[in-house]
């Protein structure tokens, strides 16, 4: 299998087979918090793709060129969370100054991303799986796309559910979880799509 094909399979795997939300249980807080309307779900999804991509690039470089040579690999958790927090902050400032229209669309979602475990999760997974630079970047991008896909599907379902007759104790989060469970049944169908 050539390297290019491997990267494509890695991408599809990250989007569908190992969907971050429905199969790896990462990023559930924004998944349930921002999935009430499709507009905001789309904004959040784009912001997550963007930050995941940048975080994967930066943390991979830091890990392999700073932490490993200095024998500080065990400190990665502290380093990564600080890198992600400052990255989000920097992106926000740059966006606010140079891309005000994009900032208006995505700005409010950025601070929420710092505490999104999907972002820290993808960077740690990249290191744990021993991915090289391009694999890490593709994996992070695929993870972001998969998150957005799950978020948009959920938002569409929840918009419909607003008018549905849900039993009172299940209204709000409980029914959202049960819906997510049914969605993940559907996503289970993708397992086996990628040869091991």
């Amino acid at each position: 299998m050539s390297y290019g094909v491997q990267l494509i399979l890695l991408f599809i795997g990250a989007v569908l087979v190992n969907n971050f939300v429905l199969m790896r249980y990462l990023g559930l807080c924004p998944y349930l918090g921002v999935s009430k309307q499709t507009d905001s779900a789309f904004g959040m999804g784009m912001a997550v793709i963007f930050v995941m991509f940048l975080a994967a690039v930066v943390t991979w470089l830091i890990y392999h060129f700073i932490l490993v040579p200095l024998d500080l690999a065990w400190m990665r958790t502290i380093f990564f969370i600080l890198v992600i927090a400052s990255l989000v902050q920097t992106v926000e400032i740059i966006m606010q100054k140079s891309l005000p229209s994009l900032y208006r669309a995505l700005g409010i979602f950025l601070p929420l991303i710092t505490t999104n475990c999907a972002v820290l999760g993808v960077t740690v997974l990249n290191i744990d799986s021993g991915f090289d630079f391009f694999q890490s970047v593709v994996h992070a991008f695929g993870a972001g796309v998969g998150f957005t896909l799950a978020l948009l599907l959920m938002a569409g379902l929840r918009e419909r559910m607003e008018v549905g007759n849900v039993p009172k104790p299940l209204r709000g989060l409980p029914i959202a979880f049960i819906t997510a469970g049914l969605m993940s049944v559907a996503f289970l169908g993708f397992s086996g799509l990628i040869p091991e």
């Binding site: 958790t77 601070p111 505490t115 989060l173 289970l188």
Partner: protein, 221 residues
């Protein structure tokens, strides 16, 4: 120092079922009771230690940069747990995988730091951390018990139903996790409605509250 600080974590303000915090690890490690307990106790250790330290330094920390400081304190204890588990309990460390480093971004811990430890004395923060941590462990234990018994037919590895039992594999896969926690939250909602307990909002209100809290991070950081 009252007992209430300790017991509120179990029912009235249970972090998972009522406050809807810390959901990712709850779903991910609850396929086996052993994993659930390991994760719960690891998070409890981090929560108690970070609550105590944050409460100790609460008067020294400038308000505007408090969140990054809290995160560094929390991350320090997470690294301690990570290394200790790797050294002394390698199988558990392997089973929990990336969810050990992800304790850093567990909303329960930063949430308690922000909502409780930075405003209260050391003793109270200690009790709060212990209660919330064990409340989290207890929630994990319930979900993991349901999933392991139905999904494997075992409890802590011991067979429950004998060899005739056909395990419902779906319970240990992700759909089982989502549906179990959804029904448990529904049960807690139903219980609260019936008892007409006042003073705790619906989980949705609390999610909104947390979003406001995270938005405050923006100014602080």
């Amino acid at each position: 120092m009252s007992l209430k600080e300790f017991t509120k974590g179990f029912f009235r303000e249970n972090p998972v079922f009522v406050l809807a915090l810390g959901l990712c690890p709850t779903l991910a490690v609850s396929s086996l009771v052993e994993k659930g307990l390991g994760m719960g106790l690891a998070a409890t250790f981090v929560l108690v230690c970070s609550n105590v330290i944050i409460s100790l330094v609460r008067k020294l920390v400038p308000k505007r940069i408090r969140i990054p400081i809290f995160i560094v304190i929390i991350a320090t204890f997470v690294v301690i747990v990570e290394l200790a588990l790797k050294a002394y309990l390698p199988p558990l460390s392997e089973a929990l995988g990336i969810f050990i480093p992800l304790i850093v971004v567990n909303c329960i811990i930063l949430g308690r730091a922000e909502a409780y430890a930075q405003k209260n004395s050391v003793g109270r923060s200690f009790m709060d951390g212990l209660g919330m941590g064990l409340g989290f462990t207890y929630a994990l234990f319930i979900i993991a018990t349901i999933r392991e018994v139905l999904g494997f037919g075992t409890f802590l590895g011991f067979s429950v139903f004998g060899s005739d039992f056909e395990p419902a594999t779906i319970m240990i896969l992700s759909p089982g996790a989502f549906i179990t926690i959804g029904l448990m939250m529904g049960y807690f909602n139903w219980r609260r409605r019936r008892k007409k307990l006042k003073g705790v909002g619906a989980p949705d209100d609390i999610l909104a509250e947390r979003e406001r809290l995270t938005a405050a991070t923006k100014e602080a950081a």
